[in-house]
Symmetry: C2
Subunit: 253 residues, 2 copies
């Protein structure tokens, strides 16, 4: 990666690396996983190596959409944009798409030097050494309902997890749509009992808001009842997507 030369804030230079940024927003609340309910800013990067059937962030995945809508921003510009948002929390979540496709080490260092805590959400398909430097590493492997849980993806997940150390406060977050997904999550938990496990009731995409919410409530109820009866999941935590509870399926919150 090219070094980012010292420039005035917000002024990129010709040699600075630029990253596809789909959204920068906050302050809001992290809606899922180990920091669910914690105030946070989000930076959503474009580009993904997966195509999950139920992806709720296709605008950050589909190459045509990313090309059309993502801004190309340098590390410095991203930090500047975050600094221009209303003040509030110290947590910044780097999400996507899959942010681990990008070389974001300089951004993580810059944000931490600004006194921020940095969390990353990635499916665990591709390791990057900068992931060891974050304050929270949320690994969200995709279960069978995603269409992205074949042997190749499982092998990549295992290789990814071989790199993870406790210093990044890692956690597994698995979206669950059905019983097959739940059994798959149990297997991951059995393979990696040291990783805190968060089960997130899946939200259907493309429905009216009332249908979305009813569906979410029904699936969350089912998931709670299914998990509560299993001794092998007594350390798991079951959560709905809190941002959907608060804001429905609106973007940018």
């Amino acid at each position: 990666m090219l070094a980012v030369p010292a420039t005035k804030a917000g002024q990129p230079t010709a040699v600075a690396v630029k990253f596809p940024v789909v959204e920068i927003f906050g302050p809001t609340i992290q809606g899922e996983g180990p920091d669910a309910g914690v105030p946070a800013y989000f930076v959503r990067f474009g580009g993904c190596d997966y195509r999950c059937t139920w992806c709720d962030s296709m605008h950050a995945v589909d190459p045509a959409e990313v090309r059309a809508h993502a801004e190309r921003l340098t590390t410095e510009q991203i930090a500047h944009r975050l600094g221009a948002l209303p003040s509030g929390p110290d947590l910044v979540v780097l999400s996507g798409g899959n942010p681990a496709l990008l070389e974001l080490g300089a951004l993580v260092r810059a944000l931490k030097q600004d006194g921020r805590r940095v969390a990353v959400e990635t499916q665990g398909s591709r390791w990057r050494d900068w992931l060891a430097d974050v304050d929270r590493l949320v690994i969200s492997p995709k279960p069978p309902s995603s269409g992205m849980a074949g042997p190749e993806e499982l092998g990549a997940l295992q290789a990814f997890l071989d790199n993870v150390t406790l210093s990044s406060a890692p956690a597994l977050k698995i979206v669950i749509f059905d019983q097959v997904d739940l059994e798959w999550a149990v297997e991951r938990h059995r393979d990696h009992p040291g990783l805190p496990l968060f089960l997130s009731a899946g939200t259907d995409v493309g429905l009216r808001e009332d249908e979305t919410l009813n569906g979410l409530r029904g699936r969350y109820r089912w998931l709670c009842e299914a998990v509560a009866r299993r001794a092998d999941l007594c350390a798991a935590r079951v959560l709905p997507q809190l941002h959907v509870i608060a804001w429905g399926t609106a973007m940018g919150v």
Copy 2:
């Protein structure tokens, strides 16, 4: 307290202390606080020293209701009832009412000897030495909207907190209905920055289920937005009552 003599499970003796038990249920999910989303059983004891305006458990508070509906059970009987529920999680939540009005040390020891983890929920109005022995102590002081946040209650809370040690994994959980409650929570957080703070969006009682849910969503959204903008609450966690999301206002779940 009288000693509980050795007897066959479920067979009380004349000298065994009995406690007013309103509900024993599970497995379900803890819906609030630091263990929100964690599978758990609940034992709800009758009797409370507070009368919160928005109490959602009046059946465990109102003396006439407690007299009419609570069973008087010994430690041994409570443990036996828990053991007879469908198997699942290792967490047992002792709730109320205010369970700290009772001498539950023998129950905590018995449950821990059974390999269970024990959590307690209390408003922090009255210290008991057995509270030091639990695996999770959730202190839920009541904010102004409850009508139970006068100088006397604040003094009792301070005296309670003077006894709390980290071994019981203590956390503050404060139900928030409005801006006054939120400012009050900020003061408690300022006074006790070492206690993890969980803010729980209040649920209105006595409404139809759809009104209850709409109200909860609206208040949760408001609370998320209010907390996210405050640097002094960046370590707080904001949650809705997850059991209301899953099951509405049904009892026994």
